[in-house]
């Protein structure tokens, strides 16, 4: 037995030119290429046409919409002008609301205070004030301007339970329940007068708008 290397070469030279020979395979190479190519062309063309049709429909819709917009835009412009006019007048009303925005109305406060006052308690002074102050709600927060309303009631009582009763009545009254405001009551009781037994007191009621900023 001899090795592969020892095999004898072909017994005659091969003069065939492969490319010029007819394709004898069952399915021709040219056919495969054509089929592949035309399928790709068809798919791509269908895709492109579908996109073009979609674009055509969109263009048609857009032109309809533009027509509609054009038809109503002049009326809309006049409506917008009127709206601007309305806004301008409304600003005046807003400023009026701002001017009248208070938690306590002077005469109502006085009436309410006298109606909850116990008989044994005497007012020596009632003061209402509003102050624009700058506060910082927390060390890191920015300072904000707020309006602080203060009602200061000074008076005399013979017995401290009368003052407690007055305070309770005051807390339950509608006067100190304005919506959107936080109410804080500070109380200061002075020394009893030895001769008369009268105890002077001062109540300071502070009302501050709740929420961020009062603007």
């Amino acid at each position: 037995m001899s090795n592969q290397g020892d095999l004898q070469p072909n017994w005659h030279p091969n003069f065939r030119i492969e490319s010029t020979l007819p394709d004898t395979r069952a399915i021709h190479m040219t056919f495969i290429i054509k089929a592949f190519l035309y399928t790709a062309v068809l798919i791509l063309a269908a895709f492109v046409l579908q996109r073009e049709y979609q674009a055509y429909l969109l263009r048609k819709t857009i032109s309809d919409l533009e027509l509609q917009v054009e038809k109503v835009s002049s009326a809309d412009r006049s409506r917008l002008q009127k709206s601007e006019q309305f806004r301008k007048y409304a600003l005046n009303i807003k400023e009026l609301q701002k001017f009248f925005s208070v938690p306590l109305i002077a005469h109502e406060s006085v009436v309410e205070l006298s109606s909850v006052k116990p008989e044994d308690l005497i007012f020596t002074s009632i003061a209402l004030s509003e102050l624009a102050v700058e506060i910082k709600r927390s060390p890191k927060s920015r300072p904000e301007d707020i309006v602080l309303f203060k009602l200061k009631i000074s008076g005399n009582v013979q017995d401290l339970p009368v003052l407690t009763q007055f305070k309770r009545e005051l807390e339950n009254s509608q006067l100190l329940k304005p919506s959107g405001y936080t109410v804080v009551i500070d109380e200061n009781i002075e020394q009893r007068d030895v001769d008369t037994g009268i105890i002077p007191f001062t109540l300071i009621i502070s009302l501050e708008k709740t929420g961020k900023g009062s603007k």
């Binding site: 492969e18 490319s19 190479m29 040219t30 290429i33 054509k34 190519l37 035309y38 790709a40 062309v41 791509l44 895709f47 492109v48 996109r51 979609q54 674009a55 969109l58 263009r59 857009i62 919409l65 533009e66 917009v69 109503v72 835009s73 809309d76 409506r79 917008l80 009127k82 709206s83 309305f86 007048y89 600003l91 005046n92 009303i93 400023e95 009026l96 701002k98 001017f99 925005s101 208070v102 109305i105 002077a106 005469h107 006085v110 009436v111 006298s114 020596t124 002074s125 009632i126 003061a127 209402l128 004030s129 509003e130 102050l131 624009a132 301007d145 707020i146 309006v147 900023g213 009062s214």
Partner: protein
């Protein structure tokens, strides 16, 4: 591979197909953005139309509303104080003396701006200004209360911004006379 290239070279149908493929790809790439652009334009127009229909809905009766507001605003304008007309303004408050049978000892038109309504204030007013008055009144409790109420319901756009009511210790009389310092803010022209 060479055989494939040779086949392509030999067949004109393949070349045509190849060119058609290239054209399709090129056309597809060139027009790839148009749907996106057109869709964006369509949605923009739809939004515009929606906005217009909303405007139509919101502006129902706008003419009547404008007229109402206009009449309110002109009514307000007629009732505004004019800062320079100091004597007329002060006399306005003294006129309560007769009406309410009350003793007004002083009416002061304050020069300082009201901090609440001034520029950068917490309730800054841009269209109007505010004039502050300090009025000193003496009288019985019900008289002072009546004065506060009158200020509340007068035609002039005014508001009691503060008051201090003190009992006066008059040894000669036991009439229960009170003294009150009342701060009134009045809306005025800018």
């Amino acid at each position: 591979m060479n055989q494939v290239i040779d086949n392509i070279k030999k067949s004109s149908a393949i070349i045509v197909g190849f060119i058609a493929l290239l054209i399709c790809i090129g056309f597809g790439l060139l027009r790839s953005n148009q749907i996106t652009k057109l869709s964006a334009l369509e949605s923009e127009l739809n939004t515009k139309l929606d906005k217009i229909s909303l405007n139509v809905k919101n502006s129902e009766n706008i003419d009547a509303d404008i007229q109402t507001l206009k009449s309110h605003v002109s009514a307000v304008d007629e009732r505004l104080f004019v800062r320079e007309e100091r004597s007329t303004n002060i006399d306005f408050f003294y006129s309560f003396e007769e009406k309410l049978d009350i003793a007004i000892s002083e009416v002061m038109q304050l020069e300082r701006n009201n901090a609440r309504y001034s520029l950068e204030g917490p309730d800054e007013l841009k269209l109007y200004s505010v004039i502050d008055y300090r009025i000193t009144v003496n009288g019985a409790f019900h008289e002072i209360l009546r004065f506060l109420y009158e200020i509340y319901q007068i035609d002039t756009i005014a508001r009691v911004t503060g008051f201090q009511i003190d009992t006066t210790y008059d040894s000669d009389s036991d009439s229960g006379e009170l003294s009150a310092q009342i701060n009134v803010a009045v809306l005025a022209t800018k």
